[in-house]
């Protein structure tokens, strides 16, 4: 294995127990200023509501905390360490200037309820970003409230629902292609819609004939991801929109894959009525190990009355403020105004790129995906030969013959110094290898990746066991997920 692996090696790494195992009475990492008001008798103030014991909360020193989390961090893979080609996740570089500006005092410490008079700075950021996103999507209006993509989907479908109600004829179901991400059907269910599956055709696109057949007055909307989860652009998108609109349905676009379109084409121009964006994908806000995200929803005029409250407006005196009185609104989807900190980062990203930079970014993202497709075609099975946009999906068909599955190949990639691609999604590709390099990767890094993938393919032929047992170079080997789920241990307890 050694000689094949060029990008990674082994190195000494610190073990670290649970913080509770380091705790001992008397250690402390906190210090409060002297109290400048009279002490109070807490039991007198709180009576029976007083709490006396904080159970097993830890007691540790500051250096122990620094070491604890520093050591833990070294067990993670991250974009900052190398290519992270998770398909559908757009793991691009997270610029550090975004983090810096998000921490500028007045921006980091503004209270959501401080008077609008002294909130113009935040509101200006809010407005500028909103306008940029509307321009980028080609839509008419936007809500920044949703906290993530799925939350945006819910917000979007709520508006769809409110729209049909306002039309006087509520509808029952949402059409969702079988290639869709799990949040799409889950969201439809959350807003009380029935989900109807839509088959993909041999090109991996929506089967327009099938759609024609399935479309009727009961269908509230079609939730479409474009480019879809195969990285394929829905070429019949205009037909699709027409079919829906003809029967009064709406076209919802899951914008998770906007990184393939920004600056090159605008969903609003090809018939989309409502869509969400993932600022934590396309607009470079960091994933942070699973969030926070931000899932703004951009809409066409017809849906504007239904936007969640409050809505940002420019007031008579020219200052910015929020409008709360919107009778047809679907209501709030969360407290305050959304994940504002992510707006700051996303705007900084747009400013750092500008119109040309944004277009360039999209072109590079698509170019990189096609470079990888070219590099691995033949070595791995390509179930759909349709042109690739920002990501390419292979299958493990060839390797499966040797009993090696996509997850095994993924684990082996770890030994080669890469984070795995997305496995087992989209569902229409059994044993999928979903690869999205993003624009951030250099040719050098991608060549190493292609190399690694080819080398693994050879290993599958020569000795599949190495691959089946992978990873070999991590501080823990494959973990027993079944055991974890059968008898869940979801918290530490002191040994008794």
């Amino acid at each position: 294995m050694k000689n094949r692996i060029r990008k990674a090696t082994l190195h000494v790494n610190q073990n670290e127990g649970l913080i509770f195992e380091k705790s001992s009475a008397g250690k402390a990492a906190w210090k409060l200023p002297p109290l400048d008001v009279p002490e109070v008798d807490t039991s007198n103030l709180l009576g029976s509501s007083e709490r006396n014991d904080l159970g097993n909360m830890p007691e540790v020193s500051e250096i122990e905390i620094i070491r604890h989390f520093t050591r833990l961090s070294t067990w993670n893979y991250a974009i900052d360490l190398g290519m992270y080609p998770l398909g559908s996740c757009t793991m691009k570089y997270n610029p550090r200037v975004n983090e810096a500006v998000a921490r500028v005092e007045g921006i980091a410490n503004g209270h959501p309820y401080q008077p609008e008079k002294i909130s113009q700075g935040a509101l200006h950021i809010f407005k500028t970003l909103s306008e940029c996103l509307i321009e980028i999507t080609g839509m008419d209006a936007i809500t920044m409230q949703p906290a993530a993509g799925a939350h945006g989907e819910m917000t979007g479908l709520l508006m769809v629902r409110a729209y049909h109600h306002a039309q006087g004829r509520p509808r029952k179901k949402i059409l969702i292609p079988d290639s869709a991400h799990g949040t799409n059907p889950a969201t439809a269910a959350m807003v009380d819609y029935a989900v109807e599956n839509l088959k993909s055709d041999s090109r991996g696109m929506v089967d327009v004939g099938a759609l024609e057949a399935q479309m009727n007055e009961d269908v509230a909307a079609l939730m479409l991801t474009n480019p879809n989860t195969l990285g394929v652009f829905e070429q019949d998108i205009h037909k699709i929109a027409d079919i829906l609109h003809a029967k009064g349905g709406l076209l919802y676009m899951d914008g998770a894959n906007m990184n393939a379109l920004v600056g090159k084409v605008r969903p609003g121009d090809f018939g989309v009525d409502v869509m969400h964006l993932n600022l934590h994908k396309t607009f470079s806000t960091p994933h942070g190990g699973g969030g926070p995200g931000s899932g703004p929803v951009a809409i066409k005029k017809i849906l504007e009355p239904f936007l969640p409250t409050p809505v940002l407006i420019t007031k008579a005196d020219g200052t910015l403020g929020f409008e709360y009185n919107r009778p047809q609104s679907v209501g709030r989807v969360r407290a305050f105004y959304g994940n504002f900190g992510m707006f700051v980062r996303a705007l900084a990203y747009i400013q750092a790129n500008g119109p040309d930079g944004l277009r360039q970014t999209t072109e590079d993202a698509v170019l990189n995906a096609n470079y990888i497709r070219k590099g691995l075609e033949g070595t791995y099975d390509l179930p759909y030969s349709t042109p690739t946009m920002h990501e390419v999906v292979f299958s493990d068909r060839l390797q499966a013959k040797k009993g090696v599955k996509t997850m095994d190949i993924a684990k082996r990639l770890i030994d080669y110094g890469f984070h795995p691609y997305t496995t087992a999604f989209p569902l229409i590709v059994p044993g999928a290898l979903m690869i999205e390099p993003t624009e951030s990767e250099s040719k050098e890094e991608m060549d190493l990746f292609i190399d690694a993938m080819k080398s693994i393919a050879e290993e599958v032929e020569e000795n599949p066991q190495t691959v089946l047992d992978a990873p070999h170079s991590t501080r823990v080997s494959r973990l027993d997920e079944t055991a974890a789920a059968r008898k869940p241990v979801l918290r530490w307890k002191p040994a008794v």
Binding site: A188, R332, G341, N353, H419, F425, S477
Partner: protein, 447 residues
């Protein structure tokens, strides 16, 4: 690379996009800026955003001191730029820290299990209620008017579109839920009773009494906690079936309203109806301890339309801030911290009582209180604003029945002199009918 792919120009790659839709012009967004310009732009916005003001605002977003090491640690690329820990072998850092987070949330709330985070306190409360709906098979909900008004709005959004009937129980002169009224509202259809404690007025609810009533009728009790620091000195609602919490107070910047950190905690037996991610302990092939995402069969990527929620990306990095904050203060510090909040608030309430009416004084409170004045609080606030001070939140919009009332908050960061100054400025306008000039200012500071 073009050569390798065998194309002449990048545009060929965009051929699949119907020509008539392709964008042939530049996007109308700001021109490309240098890093120095970007930094200047946001510094400027910061100066327009209350930089350097003293504030008495709470109401679901609290100004507590954030230990420096929080940002030092979460800024490490290994945490900041990692995705959701699907690949356990190279995500143990994130996974173990979430496991510790879940543990500490359990310790603090007195619950048995906690998830890895929800979007925020308001959505956590809504999802907790839907959890109760699934568990009880009932569909109606009774909520307290003393619950954060925006949390109520969010629940309404989630519930009404699913045809879940909502009824609201008011509060009494003591600022707590009107228990008699609540009891009447609970029916055999009631899936959940949702209250907040300390409630929106900072008043601590009589949770056990309410729990008893709810449980008597087979309804579940969901308690929302918006001020996490209260857990250092206030008994947690152990009688609740589900706790929906907003952990922003634990080291998360105010950030004009987000990102924050919601959490749901409950009893072990309800875990399979719990939304959101869960990390569990297990072992690797060599029997070495390790951690993985578990019980994923509840989640959208497996169950799709049958999932317990559609949540996917949550608030992981914010949960890490919370985790570090809880670790820094720990068993002793959290209590001392909460005590200081209590002391500052007791002092402030005492001072205000001399010049205005402090409502609900009879009931125990944590770090917020309602002050009733003869003058419109918005007028008072425009006066304070001139002294770079942001007064309490005017309640007219949310609770017209309270008249000229405002919600004031003090934390360990509120200085005695700031309190004295504010009290003085509030007193100034005592009795005086708002002058015209002041009226003019009203709109601008109105919420």
């Amino acid at each position: 690379m073009l050569k390798a792919i065998g194309i002449g120009s990048v545009d060929e790659l965009f051929a699949p996009i119907p020509a008539e839709y392709r964008l042939s012009r530049d996007l109308k967004v700001p021109r490309q800026m240098a890093e120095s310009e970007i930094v200047d732009y946001f510094r400027q916005r910061s100066r327009e955003n209350g930089e350097g003001y003293t504030s008495f605002l709470g109401a679901g977003a609290y100004a507590h001191y954030r230990p420096v090491i929080i940002d030092s640690l979460i800024s490490r690329g290994e945490f900041l730029t990692a995705y959701t820990p699907y690949q356990a072998e190279i995500s143990q850092g994130t996974l173990q820290s979430i496991f510790e987070f879940q543990t500490m949330i359990c310790e603090l709330t007195g619950m048995e299990v906690a998830n890895a985070s929800m979007y925020d306190g308001s959505t956590a409360a809504a999802e907790a209620v839907m959890m109760a709906v699934r568990l009880t098979g009932r569909r109606s909900v009774v909520l307290a008017r003393s619950l954060h008004p925006e949390y109520r709005e969010v629940l309404a959004t989630y519930a009404t579109h699913q045809g879940m009937p909502l009824t609201v129980a008011g509060f009494g002169a003591n600022g707590r839920v009107n228990v008699e009224e609540l009891e009447k509202l609970i029916t055999a259809q009631t899936a959940a009773v949702l209250i907040q404690s300390p409630n929106f007025f900072g008043t601590i609810e009589d949770v056990s009494a309410i729990a008893e009533i709810a449980h008597k009728r087979g309804a579940m009790l969901v308690v929302s906690i918006a001020e996490a620091v209260s857990l250092g000195i206030v008994e947690p609602p152990r009688e609740a079936d589900v706790i929906a919490m907003e952990a922003q107070s634990f080291g998360v910047p105010l950030g004009f309203g987000g990102p924050y950190c919601g959490v749901i905690a409950t009893r072990e037996k309800y875990v399979r109806q719990m939304p959101g991610r869960l990390v569990g302990q297990t072992v690797d092939k060599q029997g070495k301890r390790g951690f993985v995402l578990t019980l994923a069969t509840r989640e959208q990527h497996i169950r799709r339309e049958k999932a317990t929620s559609n949540i996917c990306t949550n608030q992981a990095l914010v949960a890490l801030m919370v985790n570090i904050f809880m670790t820094v203060y720990g068993k002793v510090g959290l209590k001392e911290l909460a005590k200081q909040n209590l002391a500052k608030t007791a002092y402030a309430a005492g001072q205000f009582a001399k010049h205005g009416k402090v409502l609900f004084a009879a009931s125990p409170r944590f770090n917020e209180f309602v002050v009733q004045t003869s003058e419109d609080p918005r007028v008072i606030n425009s006066r304070l604003l001139e002294h770079k001070t942001v007064g309490g939140l005017p309640l007219k919009k949310f609770y017209p029945e309270l008249g000229n009332a405002a919600l004031w908050c003090c934390t360990e960061l509120t200085t005695r002199s700031a309190i004295d100054t504010a009290v003085g400025l509030v007193a100034e306008g005592r009795g005086s009918a708002s002058s015209v000039k002041e009226e003019a200012g009203v709109e601008e500071v109105a919420r």
